[in-house]
Symmetry: D2
Subunit: 335 residues, 4 copies
């Protein structure tokens, strides 16, 4: 941490500040520039109270030298993390495909999708049982019944199950019946939920918040990891920008950037990122080309009857076509 | 709801779409423009499945004519809502001041602030017991003990208590010991929490999400109101923009705009909006001039020792000076 | 154009508004919904004065049905536009590579780059003679001398020249010596410049403004096309978002989206979009996978000595490696 | 400037970098932290080539300690700047009101407005002769004829004239006939234009770009000042955010923030900031409360017939009412 001091500060006050800082295990080195004096704080600066510093009338500003995340930081963990889910691994070089409808709607719907995505090579079935909708008047998911149907689909097809959790009181059930617990964009900073997820060992897909920076996203991963659960998979699903032609703006640069700063696997969700089914194919291929560890794609046997997000769902047929093209790019899918 | 159809669409398909729509209590009127045909959907369009429509290969786009919020909409509730809290009301024309530290830190700290803000005319004491921090390594609040201390401060001073809830399992305790439950920016779309808050009658301060539009904010209010709790107070606390000199960008226009579209009271939090104590005064005065129903301000007896947000806290002295100036503008504070 | 009227409006006022509108070649159709009445305006609504409408005390809001761009709109020009530059075409299915340094710095520098990018298959050489820098104290480009050196490089290598114009008084020189005139992000809405560019027939690369929507970008293309120059190539170069780890956020979805709404060719500039040389390769490949018509890439013989944008420049060697990979994806480069 | 080095860097390479840096008048001080080594660069770091540094394979990142603007920086010019325009001054403690229509439309229109705003105390008349419109099909202003009419209004009323310039070839005429030259938001980074404006002594109102940070805005002021013209007035006119209920988001915090970092005067334009006439009054009052040096307000004798921006124009009557309220807050208007 570096403190830039104001100009024309009394020597006595600088010494006082240094004394205060050094009283908490920090060593301070001082450099006099042309206009500003800077203090470099050496040691574990997490204990430093920034309020104290910013309120000091001699500090102009604080600069953080180091990324605030530790466990998620590649600096301290140079090899890629691989997350084991059933017989599969995510992040170990193979490519994972998670496919399925936005919401679980009926036994017939989820089984139809499950059978078809399995045929095209997916090892993971996604399906929402609890849906976070902007409007209280929209379909909110089948709840427990949705989880029952996902379990049924798993029993029949062997696909691993991915579903979104909305609150801590659902955790026991999710740990029991779901293979990867998904945290949605709106809950990326629901810290109570993240802490609870850190106390189980179930893999977690952490979606990026709609206007979160990569640093904030990694800090949310840190919340889970700091409690003991290292099985975190990041998922880029588009951020909010001024653009209105797309639902969100897919931040393709998150893929190489997360790989640079972190060792965690990163997958891409081109369905939410665009909100338009006809854009899923070009963006899915772009994510593969940029080095993603996997894809999460919405598929529905009958998108025009979907109770949520029909506009961004692929049909079974267009999903199959996409998988053929991805296979050509990738060589072979995960596990 | 209006559907803009693509150009050169077969008549048969248009008729089919109209039939589908009309099967669900919707009346459709059709207008032929120069390049486009539009369909106006008349009736309760909440039941219309937009996925169906967007997947239809004849629809170019959907336009919503009406705001999606009903209970929060001034159109259906022209008079201002006033929220009763103890002997006070918020939104009825008087001006409410909610002051106190970011976090409750100790008995001495909270009692000192409580006594002082009372002297300067505040009727409400704020203080965080559970703190949503970006980093898991930052101070997370005193928890239950924090609520105990707030209760103590209320017993001594009679101030009404405002504190932030983070998860549904805290609800019983908050209902018992807190006078207004605050929902923070990061939980504005924690729909599980909003629904639970809708099932109690306790007043709720709903802070605007960091990148939420006013429409999304009002939809979150709608979640609470749709469950039965009409005691919602909105709080503008700054939105995220590209600016880095301030912590957030205080959206002053939210004040007249919310008053235009909704009947709910709106207060302003210039402390979080700027992140700098020396900007609190000009922005607090701006909020008063723009017509806010109240202010939420961070005050600390010793900001440079604050465990959170010290940089944006007023001292007791500067708080007193601010209140004098606000009183000159306002005439008189609430209740 | 659709007008949503306020509720409870006097019939007389509605009729008056309709009469006013119909006096200017517009036909009005009226639909009565449950809460709102809407007026559909049919005809060339460009002549409608929106101020008149919004000031009318009976109109709640205006909704535009049709995209405001005409000449750039695929609706009215279904086939792809191909832009002819020398012996090459851009947008006709082949893939165009434009490579070179951010700024022209010396004869040796530009000739070295020109020879090398030619070897790797580029047909276009980029180089800035006039540089729009955020700071007046930064290197502003060699000016006329820079254009002389580009001309020299063209004479020796036969590469076509791309360079950025900053103001209308440079136009004659650019028309004479440059093959494609580039308009930078900061000038995307410099309408005086766009109009002048519309009056020549030289191809124009129009970069997207840092916070421009796709609609605004196409409207800027429209400015050029409306004056008569149809040779417009769009270039996605990243938009501003909250992210700080990258210089800009590369909006990969612009590629399929522009191809959907417009017939103009679109190329990608992964160098500016990321600001980091090591991200150029994954994003360039993503752009190819998403369907871009070409790439603009910064290459410098000695990036650590570059007078501008060294951090995002490829070395000659890494450029060569990138071209090999692109060739594997594409098959063959343009012309 | 501070360089954070990567971990585990060879000593030899660090020494080499220090030598390179010190060869250009920079002194380097080195501090070894727990994970990172930092280098503090002391001296005039404007000459340092950041490309060199970022390309060096031992540098993790560059941190700027000092604001990049010098002439606009309050650090080097502690007293407020006052700009003299005719007999008036802006920034000297008095409050300046600049009022008038968005566009000059006719002799009658501009004279009517001029007479009325004068009566209510304005000393400055604004009116656009050249209009930067998003669409090439919208009214583009009367051009030279508009400037003639403003001159006429000045001759009759004595009001000082403010009008927007779009390109350098208009400069001679503006210097002759206009009292303050306005640079619009879209031209805030039209550096060719800024440089030319720096070479005259005419006062300039520099509007903030739609997505510009305060630092970039001050850097654009620096462009003008670096060429010799110190008469720069900043104008906050709203920034782009995700909000759609307002045209732009008025950044009220820019007022105290600019006063903190710079000595230049700052005025507010609530008309463009909101795009709705009924929001002008609350936001104008907020700007006064926050400490603005003046206001720029759109007034039209007949907003519903305005050729541009009618939706945000006050009528003569509502303007008069606003001025009465502002006068109550302010005491007395400028000059």
């Amino acid at each position: 941490m570096i403190l830039v001091l104001k100009t024309n500060v009394e020597e006595k006050k600088i010494e006082e500040l240094i004394r205060t800082l050094e009283s908490s295990q920090i060593r301070v080195e001082r450099t006099k520039g042309v206009d500003y004096t800077i203090l470099a704080l050496i040691g574990d600066t997490r204990s430093v109270n920034e309020g104290t510093i910013l309120n000091s009338d001699i500090v102009h500003r604080i600069i953080h030298v180091q990324e605030p995340y530790k466990q998620a930081n590649r600096l301290f963990h140079p090899e890629n993390t691989t997350v084991k889910v059933g017989d599969c691994t995510i992040g170990g070089g193979e490519f994972a495909v998670i496919a399925g409808p936005c919401s679980v709607e009926s036994e017939e719907q989820i089984l139809t999708v499950a059978r078809e995505v399995k045929k095209s090579g997916a090892k993971f079935l996604r399906g929402g049982a609890y849906k976070p909708r902007t409007s209280p008047y929209s379909f909110q998911g089948l709840g427990e019944r949705g989880l029952d149907l996902l379990k049924l689909a798993k029993e029949e097809t062997g696909l691993l199950i991915v579903s979104e959790i909305l609150s801590t009181d659902q955790l026991d059930r999710f740990v029991r019946d779901v293979d990867i617990i998904q945290v949605g964009a709106r809950n990326m900073q629901n810290f109570s939920l993240l802490k609870e997820l850190g106390r189980v060992q179930k893999p977690v897909i952490l979606k990026r918040g709609m206007s979160a920076t990569m640093e904030e996203w990694l800090m949310s991963a840190e919340y889970i990891m700091a409690e003991g659960n290292k099985n975190v998979i990041l998922c880029e699903r588009g951020i909010r920008t001024f653009e209105t032609y797309t639902r969100n703006t897919f931040d393709i640069s998150a893929i190489p950037m997360i790989k640079h700063y972190s060792h965690l696997p990163i997958i891409a969700d081109p369905s939410h990122a665009t909100g338009r089914w006809w854009m899923v194919e070009p963006l899915a291929k772009a994510a593969v080309a940029a080095g993603a560890d996997g894809l999460m794609v919405e598929v529905h046997p009958n998108p025009e009857k979907a109770l949520s997000d029909g506009a961004q769902s692929l049909t079974l047929e267009s999903y199959k076509k996409l998988m053929n093209e991805i296979n050509l790019m990738i060589g072979k899918l995960a596990c």
